[in-house]
């Protein structure tokens, strides 16, 4: 069995609103999971079940209210700034809306340059062109703006930009739900092929159980912030998924 990359223990998330913190909303309760190198963990649930909140915690975008998240055995809450910077490069997040993820007034070339500058790395245009080819795009798109590309092309650009940082784990938050069915099929196959080539681990967030079954080894079914099922994706029974609104 492959090595554990990420581990979440007793994670919960509570949002407070009003002053002074009169209302609390517990969006995640007692989440325990492991993400293994080169494998895909699916997080599935209805709208509002807490799957994106959990994905953001695993990607280090948000901190949990309680519980711990560890990456390669080190707790995220105890990382030094240098270790944190390394973690943020190795664990990336791909969002649902590719046009929202790319700056609309910057060309694709500038978008790559900006990420490289922020991460303190410099990649030649040849490397960037190779990355674009890896995700099935032509380097001819480098001078274009996101609005001059289709949704599927923009999602590939966002993926290539992530690959530039050489991640080990990518949290994919509904990466195909804004795309046409045929483009969805292309992106899913691309993700599988990249996983094989680069031994990537994925946390795949989706509301569509068919996508989860196609993509994932293990699955966590969330219902109102709690875990309703956890195990191999083929063992998730349709009636259990349906009872959680999936």
């Amino acid at each position: 069995m492959s090595a554990v990359l990420m581990k979440a223990q007793d994670v919960c998330q509570v949002f407070r609103s009003g002053w002074p913190a009169r209302r609390t909303l517990e969006v995640l309760q007692d989440i325990n999971l492991k993400v293994r190198s080169g494998q895909t963990l699916g997080i599935v649930g209805d709208s509002g079940s807490g799957k994106t909140t959990l994905g953001r915690i695993l990607a280090g975008v948000d901190r949990p209210t309680c519980g711990t998240v560890s990456y390669k055995g080190s707790r995220l809450s105890g990382l030094t700034p240098v270790q944190w910077a390394a973690f943020r490069r190795r664990v990336q997040m791909l969002f649902q809306d590719p046009e929202g993820a790319l700056n609309p007034v910057k060309t694709i070339r500038r978008s790559f340059e900006e990420v490289g500058r922020l991460a303190g790395i410099s990649k030649s245009e040849t490397v960037v062109s190779d990355l674009l080819r890896t995700v099935g795009l032509s380097p001819e798109i480098l001078p274009r703006l996101p609005r001059q590309l289709s949704g599927g092309q923009n999602q590939r650009v966002a993926l290539a930009r992530i690959l530039m940082l050489e991640p080990e784990l990518i949290v994919l938050d509904e990466p195909t739900s804004a795309l046409d069915v045929s483009v969805q099929a292309q992106i899913l196959h691309l993700l599988k092929s990249l996983q094989r080539q680069r031994n990537l681990a994925y946390v795949y967030i989706a509301h569509d159980i068919r996508v989860i079954r196609f993509m994932c080894d293990q699955v966590v079914l969330l219902d109102k912030g709690g875990v309703k099922f956890q195990g191999r994706s083929e063992e998730l029974r349709p009636d259990v998924a349906l009872s959680a609104g999936v």
């Binding site: 209805d46 709208s47 949704g151 045929s182 483009v183 099929a185 509301h207 569509d208 068919r210 996508v211």
Partner: protein
């Protein structure tokens, strides 16, 4: 009974990189009372067709051909004449409710406004009809909703508000432009329900523009498929799903989750530099030598039509 006829419809956009033909010779008859789905991938030109019907295209667009509605060519009408048709006789539900609704006007005003503009009714007097529309679309606290603003509603509720505003004048044709685009599963289910309500409660003909094949399966009586600005197949919905004819349609259905997510090979078509012959031939698994040279016509037989040399 036909109510909307498109004859050799073309739409060209003048772009910095040259002329782009987004719609290329579309011929389509939309029959009265039917739900017709115009489907295809993003960029195939289906929304451009909808916007051409209502004269909503930007200034760099040139529209050719004929769009006949009630024996009149919409393309020959002045803007003033077209404004009387738009909304009153042909309604449209635009694809993004949060952008289509005015954020500083309340819901009651936005639903009642077509009555004020087209029928000269005082805004106050639109209230009973607005309330009745909201009830029909499943809103419960209808009185309380009239003074609400779009930001107080969910995406699905705003979608229903748009539908209510589009239907308040009881148009003969309702165009729904990508009503499920960008919505999550729950909201897509709600919109699907609204579309079914429209289909059952109204005598309007529905022209559904979508890439959502599940919505198409639930709603459409007939399906027209677009690829690269052209109609490539027209079929009754049942035979479309059970026995698609065009290789593109077959490939599109193969990419559905229930069929195993098989992608269509090859890159998407570039409208700035479309291939000669059949537009799908570079990606077609069944292409022959002639496909690159000869442009196929739309071959019709009964209620079906297909643009492919395999059927010539």
């Amino acid at each position: 009974m036909s109510c909307l006829h498109l004859r050799n419809l073309t739409v060209d956009f003048a772009t910095p990189s040259g002329n782009l033909r987004a719609v290329d010779g579309v011929r389509l008859d939309h029959e009265g009372g039917e739900s017709l789905a115009l489907i295809g991938e993003t960029g195939c030109g289906k929304s451009v067709v909808a916007h051409a019907i209502l004269g909503l295209l930007p200034g760099n667009a040139t529209v050719g051909g004929v769009i006949e509605f009630q024996d009149r060519n919409l393309l020959a009408m002045s803007e003033r004449e077209l404004a009387k048709v738009r909304g009153a006789q042909i309604g449209i539900v635009l694809q993004n409710p949060s952008l289509a609704l005015n954020p500083i006007h309340n819901i009651g005003r936005q639903i009642g406004e077509p009555l004020v503009v087209h029928r000269g009714v005082a805004l106050r007097s639109t209230r009973p009809k607005v309330l009745s529309r909201l009830r029909r679309l499943g809103f419960l606290d209808v009185e309380g909703h009239l003074d609400a603003f779009p930001f107080e509603f969910s995406g699905g509720m705003n979608q229903r508000v748009l539908i209510a505003a589009s239907l308040i004048l009881e148009p003969q044709v309702l165009i729904a432009d990508e009503p499920t685009k960008g919505l999550d599963a729950g909201l897509r289910g709600l919109v699907r329900k609204e579309m079914l309500t429209i289909k059952h409660l109204n005598s309007s003909s529905l022209l559904l523009i979508t890439h959502d094949l599940e919505l198409t399966r639930d709603i459409a009586d007939r399906v027209a498929v677009m690829y690269g600005g052209q109609i490539v197949e027209i079929a009754p919905a049942e035979s479309f799903f059970s026995g698609p004819l065009h290789p593109y349609t077959r490939a599109l259905l193969q990419s559905l989750p229930e069929n195993g997510f098989h992608p269509i090979p090859g890159p998407p078509l570039s409208l700035t530099d479309p291939p000669g012959g059949c537009r799908f031939h570079p990606r077609c698994p069944e292409r022959g030598e002639e496909c690159a040279r000869r442009r196929p016509d739309l071959y019709a037989s009964g209620r079906r039509a297909v643009r492919c040399l395999l059927y010539s």
